[in-house]
Amino acid sequence: MSDVPTTVKCLVWDLDNTLWQGTLSEGDTVRPPDGVRELIIELDSRGILQSVASKNDHDLAWAKLEELGLAKYFVLPRIGWGPKSDSVRDIAERLKFAHGTIAFVDDQPAERAEVSFHLPEVRCYAADQVPALADLPEFSPRNVTVDARRRRQMYQAGFRREEEQAAFRGPTEEFLRSLELDMRIGRATEEQLSRVEELTLRTSQMNATGVHYSDAALRELLADPGHEVLVTTMADRFGPHGAVGVMLLRTRPGVWHIKLLATSCRVVSFGAGAAILNWLIDQAARAGAHLVADFRPTERNRMMEIAYRFAGLGEESCACQDALPDAGADGLRRLHLVPAPREPHATIRISAPDLAADHRVAAPDPVH
């Protein structure tokens, strides 16, 4: 079979005689073999998450990982005395990863067999394979995006955020305010494009047309002065959310046409989609342009229709649409709005380019 194997999304490490030499609970002075530290850092930079499943005293083992300066590289460590298959299953569940994307490395054949028996899709490796892991195709993602390099930080921030939200007793509004949400909308860079393509592929619930734009198609539009390819990134006081939205906008004098708006499900609960629309409507109002948005209902994107409709877009016809190419017969609808200036968002601070200034309808020339 010549197929490239599924990329590993999380590698779960055993500790004693795998991540380090020696047995901690027997009082050994443990230290990682040559190359292990470098491997951990390398996999981290490829966007592969790493965790721990170890039979050890949790506090002692974690303190040792901290002392070694390695603790920060691990998410959801499972250190205790239960079966390792339970630990690996837990980790996969919390990460929402399929078992086939999880790898497990342990020096003990019995532990690998136990994990394999209960979780046959998890890929198991012996400790002596560790030096070769970085060269295996399953540990070599095809495309290392900007977000991949900080994936681990994004997950760690996400776990802290979830904990705090679960513990928060006040109104939802106050919680959102406490996050200090920061949204940056910017023109897409070449480097961001791979992530943008990924977003149009993965955001089926929040993709307004269900259309997926290829990297090549987006690259072409990036160079076209009549189009804006805008990428939204978000962060809050816990850390980055990474790239969370993409908008493809065709700007003509008097009418701005949203050909695609897709946002990540991860930030839906913060109102990211509504915030982006609120900003765009304000910009269009300042530019003196009507807004037209393409929408094609799919089984999963009703949330996007609601976001558009709640933002004020409706079905009334307007002469501004005569200038647009035909919507075609494949179920594409056009929603329309004559925009008015909007108040800044209540809980999200937004920084963005001044589209209105760049695309303002020129005031009529004085008659000579």
């Binding site: 006040g170 109102g271 509504a274 949330m303 609601i306 709640f310 409706g314």
Partner: protein
């Protein structure tokens, strides 16, 4: 009074809908609301919450909210949502449909 009996009751009063909606919304937003309070004025109702709200109304009151009826004005206050539910249950055409 359960949701089930609300939906199946032959006649739903505006008062009982308002009461149910206030309970639902206060639990969701963890704030105290009045029937005429504009929940969207601060612009913080998220797309997710908007979706939840629409689905809640549809399932609890067995109505379908589509097209022009999805406009924000219909959802601003508990009173407006109550009016929407009553109108849809009465089967009258959408108001203000273009």
């Amino acid at each position: 009074m359960s949701t089930e009996s609300t939906a199946q009751g032959a006649e739903l009063s505006a008062e009982s809908i308002e009461r149910e909606l206030l309970g639902f919304l206060e639990a969701k937003t963890r704030t105290t609301l009045t029937p005429d309070q504009d929940m969207f004025a601060s612009g913080l109702v998220s797309s997710m919450f908007a979706m939840e709200l629409v689905v809640h109304l549809e399932q609890t009151y067995r109505v379908a909210i589509v097209g022009a009826d999805l406009k924000l004005d219909n959802f601003r206050t508990v009173q407006r949502m109550t009016e929407l539910v009553l109108r849809l249950r009465a089967g009258s055409p959408a108001v203000g449909h273009a």
